[in-house]
């Protein structure tokens, strides 16, 4: 198992997300090619076409549509048992621009039984606001990653990953609002959210795949997470991969995620400007989500095309259920603070063709 560069391949993918009043879909195109025996180049073009009437939007704004385009380029260079990587990603929306540069090194040791990787990324965001052309804010991001991939036995491989991310700058969403109780009544009013200007997070993940027999594999992973905003989270996933008649691959998996709320989160603040920092994004509340996923891959014949080594047609479907413990459905119209807790489900589909050449 000497180090090898990734295979030459191209992927054409269509993705669709539908849940909680939000639909997002679009294409993603990836091409990867070795230009010399030591150097592999890659490029990815990705689009999100977003149409949103989420509970946040309906609570204090109007439904909207927008488009996000992301372009990535990368290079991997093979040097003995080491792969050096560098890449650049640029994401563009009408009110948000993000550029990220990343660098990585992967080294094999112990006769190829262990692979150690280190990564660093530096990103900068430029945040705008469609309702105010003069509004511009910045945020910087640094990411440090370390990973180990280990062959444990003839049937078992595992991964360990650690990632620390630090942010500094304007970290909240310029449109999002928090609500506070009105004096002496059961009503509420809105004011803009205020987030801290720094955030540091640490995530540690472990994963493994175990070979049960020909074409039959169980896999799982788990992650622990903590950050300086007070969010503690963990998630775990278990799955089974099965190959049927050498042409079909099926993968079933279940994933569970849960988190605690940020220290400055409240569904309903007692009065205006109740704290230095104010947040009511459901993404920083206390909640859990369940996901069931099915992936199917079909190897289609490629003999007609001499330049192709292999081709697959792939479909992935996920059903997700999000349940919030302290985020209420304000659209219900009940007195403030007594509305039912919010929940929603979502369906995610990816349909893609992959070819190797």
């Amino acid at each position: 198992m000497a180090q090898v560069l990734p295979d030459d391949r191209a992927d054409v993918l269509y993705h669709s997300y539908d849940g909680g009043g939000v639909t997002i879909n679009g294409p993603s195109l990836l091409a990867r090619k070795k230009v010399t025996k030591d150097l592999s180049l890659s490029a990815n073009y990705y689009v999100d076409s977003i149409s949103s009437a989420s509970i946040d939007v309906l609570s204090y704004a109007s439904p909207y549509s927008e488009k996000r385009t992301e372009v990535s380029v990368g290079a991997d260079y093979l040097l003995g048992d080491t792969i050096l990587s560098a890449g650049f990603t640029s994401s563009d929306e009408n009110d948000f621009k993000a550029d990220t540069a990343n660098f990585g090194v992967r080294q094999e040791i112990f006769g190829g039984l262990t692979s150690v990787s280190l990564g660093f990324a530096q990103g900068s965001d430029e945040i705008g606001q469609v309702t105010d052309p003069d509004f511009t804010r910045d945020a910087d991001r640094r990411l440090y990653r370390m990973g180990v991939s280990q062959v444990v036995s003839k049937k078992f491989v595992m991964n360990l990953d650690f990632e620390a991310i630090t942010d500094e700058g304007f970290l909240n969403n310029p449109y999002r609002q928090v609500r506070y109780e009105t004096v002496g009544g059961s009503g509420f009013l809105w004011q803009p959210e205020i987030y801290p200007s720094t955030r540091t997070s640490s995530a540690f993940a472990v994963g493994g795949r175990y070979f049960l027999g020909e074409g039959s594999v169980v896999h799982g992973n788990a992650r622990l997470y903590t950050d300086t905003w007070g969010i503690d989270a963990w998630n775990a996933k278990a799955g089974y991969t099965y190959i049927f008649r050498s042409k079909w691959l099926f993968d079933f998996s279940y994933r569970y995620y849960t988190q605690t709320a940020a220290d400055f989160y409240s569904d309903l603040f007692p009065y205006v400007d109740a704290q230095n920092f104010l947040g009511r994004d459901k993404e920083i509340s206390t909640f859990n989500d369940h996901s069931l996923r099915l992936d199917v891959t079909y190897d289609f014949p490629v003999e007609k095309w001499d330049f192709l080594k292999r081709g697959t047609l792939n479909l992935s479907y996920s059903y997700m259920l999000f349940s919030y413990d302290d985020f209420r459905n304000v659209l219900d119209g009940s007195p403030a603070g007594s509305e039912p807790l919010y929940d929603f489900n979502a369906g995610v589909v990816t349909l893609f063709v992959s070819v190797w050449f």
Binding site: L13, R68, S90, S91, R141, G215, V217, T241
Partner: protein, 75 residues
């Protein structure tokens, strides 16, 4: 202090050199099962990158999931 540091660096290098001589307990010819497609962690990078983005836009946690950053689309 500098002498101590030098000793530590030399000791670390010796350890690393020693590591490279460790006999692999799973021989290369015993790794056929590990090289199959169903054992790959990264079978469909475009799809996995997208699914990681779906979760990161809706969950507070981030990192250690192999996702590339950029944008949100989460409001």
């Amino acid at each position: 202090m500098q002498a101590l540091l030098r000793v530590a660096v030399v000791a670390a290098l010796v350890q690393l050199t020693a590591c490279s001589n460790i006999e692999p307990w799973v021989k290369p010819y015993e790794r056929a099962n590990l090289a199959t497609e169903e054992m790959s962690f990264d079978r469909n990078p475009v799809c996995e990158s997208y699914m990681n983005h779906v979760f990161e836009a809706r969950e507070g946690a981030r990192g250690a999931s192999g996702s590339a950053g950029g944008g949100c689309g989460c409001n």
